[in-house]
Each structure stands twice: as C-alpha cells, then as structure tokens.
Amino acid sequence: MKAFAFSRGKPAAFAAVFVACLAVHSEQQTSMPTPGSDDPISPVREAYAKILSVLPRSGKIGYLGSADNRRYFHAQYCLAPLVVVRGDRFDFVIVEDKFASRLSDFELIAKTGHGTSVYRRKAQ
C-alpha cells in the first residue's frame, strides 16, 4: 500500500497544477461587463426621483398598470419607504400611461418621463 503511495507524489502535484490551470482558464472565460449594461433600475430610479416632491413622504399610494409585475416592482423599489399597492383606492396613484383612461376623479400632477405619471384624487 505504501509503495503505491510513494509513486503518487509527483502525479498529485501535476494534477494540482492542472486543476489550477483549468480553474484559472474557467475564471478568465468570464467576460468583462461594461458599466450600466445590465442596469434596468438606475434610469427608473432617476425618473421617479423627479416626482418624489409631489408624493407624500410615507404611507401607501396606488399603482395602476399592466399585469406584468416588473414595472410595479421597480416602482416599489424606487419609491420605498412609500408602500405602493396595486389599485386606485388611495389619494395618490402611479399610473402607466396606457392605463390613464381608466381613472376617474383623479388629476394629473406629474410625469416621470418613463411611461408613468402621478395622479391625485380630486378634492370633493
């Protein structure tokens, strides 16, 4: 058993170096991304930053838009700590432009410039 072990020292070292080379090679296959190339959030965040002044500082606001949750989730992330809830039962509602016609008793108060606008319930 020991005699077998003696003959394994150098192959083991070669194997170690070979694995290392493969690991290095595998790691260096990774492409270097360019800044902002995979960032859907920053433009949305900039757009929502423009309308923060017309929104309340806390509490809940509504969101009216398509069933695709992505834009709704973006709005929630960008507007936190405001809680954005689907529906138009609140005084302030973020509306995707295509859905603006569904609102009644609301007035437009700001546009994000990113396909959404802010509406406020008209005073009774």
Binding site: A5, R8, G9, A13, A16, S26, D39, Y77, P81, L82
Partner: protein, 471 residues
C-alpha cells in the same frame, strides 16, 4: 475610501469577538492565525452591526453617532474581557496537523495562479458591480428594498410590502441600512462592497482553513477551484444573500472543526460555531434548516464517538452561541404572525401526490446534474478535482469530530432541499430554474472544505516518498 472606513469598526468588533470566543492560537503560525481571525471576524462584525442597528431602531431610531458609540463601547468591553480571559487560561494546540512546506515550487505555482485568478476576479467583480449597481432581481426587490425601508423613519412599513418575502431574515438589509445611516446617504457602493467582502472572505477562509488542516497547496487549490466556479463569484457580485449565507455556513463548519485541534472540549469554540450558524439563519431562511442539520449532525457524531452526555454538552454550547439569533428570528416570526409565502402557497397537488410523482425526482436530479457539471461550477475542473482526490487518496485518521459532522450536515441539508423541491407548491421547473444554481452556491465552499479535509496532500506523499527512498 469612506465605504472601507464604514467596514473598519464592525470588522474590529468582529475580530475582537472571535478573539473573545477563541483566545487560544488556532493555527501553528501567527500569519495563519491572524488571517483566520480576519476572515472570520469581518463578516461576524457585519452580523453584529446588523443586530445593533435593528435593536436601536426598536428603541429610539438608529443615529450614526449612537451606532458608533455603542460599537466602540462593545469593542472596548470585548477587548478588556479577552485580555482578562487570556491571563486566566490559555489552551494549547494538542496536534500538529499543519504540514510543513515540503514542496515550495508547487506552492509557488499555485500561489501565482491564485494571484492572477484573484486579480481577474476582482476586476470582473468591480465591472459587474458598475454594470448592475442595484444588483439583480432578489438583491433590489428584497434585500436592498428592505434596507431602504430600514434606513427611513418609516421602517415598519417594510412589512406592508407583502410580495417581497416579508418573512426573510434581516442581516443584510439591517447591515446595509446601518451603513447608509453612518454614511448619511443611500449609496449603491455599500451593498456592492458588502457582496465583495463576503465573496472574497469565503475564498480566503476556505484557503486558510484547508491550509491549517491539510497543507498550503491543498488550501490554494481549494481557493482556486472556488474562484474558478464563476457562478459563485457571480452570485456574490449580483448581491444575492446566498454568498453571505454560504460564508456563515462555512465559518460554522470551520470553527467546529477547530474543536478537533484541542485535546479537550472547547465550549467557547462550540459557541462561536453556533454564533456563525445563527448568523446564517439570520441571513436566509435556509439557514434555519442548516442550523438544524448541524445540530443533528453534532448529536449523531458526538453520540457515536463520545456518548450521550458529551453530545448533549456539545449541542448545549453550540445552541448557546446561536441563541441571540434564534431569539431574533423567533421575535420576527411572532411579529409577523406566522410562516412565509412558501408555507401559505397552494398547489393543485397534495403533498403525498407530489411525493409519489416520480417524474419530479427525475427533474430534480437532472437539474442538479446539469448545474453541477456546467462551466458555472468549474466544468471539467470538477471531474479533474475528483481525479486529484483519487490520486492523493483519502486521509481521515487524524480527524475526530470532523469531517464527519460536515459530511452528515451537508448530506442532511442536501436531503432537506431535495424534499423541499419535491413538495414545493410552486411549479417545479420554475422553482428549480430560479433557485437551484443559487442553492448550490450556498453549499459550495462547505463542500470544498469537507472534500479537501478528507484528502491527503502532495506534500505528504512526497515526504513519505523521500523518507522511504533508498539511500
């Protein structure tokens, strides 16, 4: 620079805390001992800082000055207690596991390869962080969003966003909010830097731990392989919590394995292992299952090796270390009033029906196979790593508690995940596609640690060859 400054005080607190739990030398060389404390301590400090921030929110609202003051006071207290404790009793290492450096050329080659790979990995990490500064989906939709709530005065509203997995634990969000509070703004650089700390601390800890227990060459090889598994570093880069969780899981196993290096039971080391397991549970819900797996593994292995009394003593100390985080998790659960969306989700199939559907077993096994042997996890290097193991052979005779605890814990964790996939109420294919590569990342450093602990080393084989060579 201000971001690095933000890490300094929590890192000092974490390193001091590791010193309090482990005042004895943990390695034969001072350099390895300091490196181990650095890699264990910095993320531990992040965990402690997250708790301090959350508790201050509960009391009076977290303020930057108050955070610094409390952390400084804690640091001072921990250092004073450690100095006093060191004077009382210093336990000596009872073994000599560390192999001498018999093969400097091999180590040099591996070290050069590691430095090249690590530099490239850091560059890719930096570039990816700039490409997606808010991280990928889970990062911004769960962790960073919750951090934005915790940073504000209206932090309790975080739990009103019911779709954002409100049952998830708070180590990362609370830490990021802690950092933003101290910095005074919501910079995206902090979550990115945190991701970097956890990713590279995992690699560093793996190298140092395998280096201490086996040899420098095996340590470097393990580190290189983890770097080569680009999915691991990528998951870290996109700010997912799976890499911090992987770190704490590894840290718990490493600290447990240190137990073997001393002749008698070291309660403080067991408590430190429990503390890291607690932090894993405070990072992701999977951590709670992992902690349970480690407890069961400790119970089984200790009971077989040392009897019932000893196994209960070991588990008591381990759980004592984890207690602060267990208490936090229970408090969060009680405040939320029940389980998360996974438990509440419904499916058209009942649990027994899902368990008896053998096509689900096939799907899960195929998903594991595909993900484990693609380039993301080292590709062909995985197979050659197995071949390397075959060449150097297995050596377990010097290990007592470990690596058995690690093997049993990993087997239990993998088994639990398998069962979770089997009974998931969500569409299985969707669930597998969206989670399995992240889940494997959680285990990868620990699997490599246990694997390399089982292997012999080229240095030992060469030394044996020299010793028995004809003169």
């Amino acid at each position: 620079v201000s971001i690095l400054w933000e890490f300094l005080l929590p890192a000092a607190l974490g390193i001091a805390l590791v010193g309090l739990y482990a005042p004895m030398m943990l390695a034969q060389s001072l350099a390895a001992d300091y490196a181990l404390r650095l890699f264990l301590g910095t993320p531990a400090g992040i965990g402690i800082a997250s708790v301090i921030h959350l508790l201050l929110l509960q009391v009076n609202g977290a303020r930057a000055g108050m955070l610094v003051l409390i952390e400084l006071l804690m640091l001072l207290t921990v250092v004073l207690v450690t100095v006093f404790r060191k004077r009382c009793a210093v336990t000596k290492l009872s073994d000599s596991i560390l192999c001498a450096n018999h093969w400097p050329i091999l180590n040099c080659i591996l070290a050069i390869g590691f430095v090249i790979t690590c530099c490239h990995s850091v560059m890719v990490f930096h570039a990816t962080s700039l490409a997606a500064p808010h991280g990928e989906w889970d990062a911004w939709a769960v962790w960073n969003m919750r951090a934005r709530f915790l940073y504000s005065e209206h932090w309790r509203d975080a739990w009103s966003v019911t779709w954002a997995h409100i049952d998830y634990p708070l180590l990362l969000p609370s830490w990021i909010a802690h950092g933003w509070t101290r910095l005074g703004n919501e910079t995206t650089a902090l979550p990115a830097a945190t991701a970097g700390v956890f990713t590279f601390a995992s690699i560093g800890l793996l190298i140092v731990a395998v280096g201490i227990f086996r040899s420098v060459s095996n340590g470097l090889l393990a580190g290189l392989f983890l770097l080569g598994c680009t999915r691991f570093t990528y998951t870290g880069t996109i700010q997912y919590a799976d890499v911090p969780f992987a770190f704490f899981f590894l840290a718990s196993l490493v600290t447990l394995s240190m137990q073997d290096r001393f002749g008698e039971m070291q309660p403080s080391l067991l408590a430190l292992a429990g503390l890291f397991a607690g932090m894993a549970a405070w990072t992701k819900n999977e951590g709670q299952a992992t902690m349970l797996a480690i407890v069961v593994a400790l119970l089984v292995v200790c009971w077989r090796q040392a009897g019932t009394q000893r196994s209960f003593a070991v588990i008591s100390w381990f759980l004592a270390g984890a207690t602060p985080f267990i208490a936090l998790i229970i408090a969060l659960r009680v405040a939320l009033g029940g389980g998360g969306n996974w438990l509440q989700a419904q499916s058209s199939m009942t649990v027994p029906e899902r368990l008896l559907d053998f096509s689900r077993y096939q799907l899960i096994i195929e998903a594991f196979q595909t993900k484990n042997f693609t380039g993301f996890y080292g590709g062909i290097a995985s197979l050659i790593m197995l071949l390397y193991g075959f060449i150097v052979g297995v050596r377990v005779e010097r290990q007592k508690l470990f690596p058995w605890v690690g093997i049993v814990a990993l087997a239990l964790v993998i088994g639990m995940v398998f069962v979770v996939y089997l009974i998931t109420p969500f569409d299985l294919e969707w669930h597998l596609t969206t989670s399995i590569s992240r889940i494997v990342c959680q285990w990868l450093p620990s699997i490599l640690f246990v694997y390399f602990l089982l292997l012999d080393t080229p240095e030992e084989l060469q030394r044996a060859q020299s010793a028995f060579a004809p003169k």
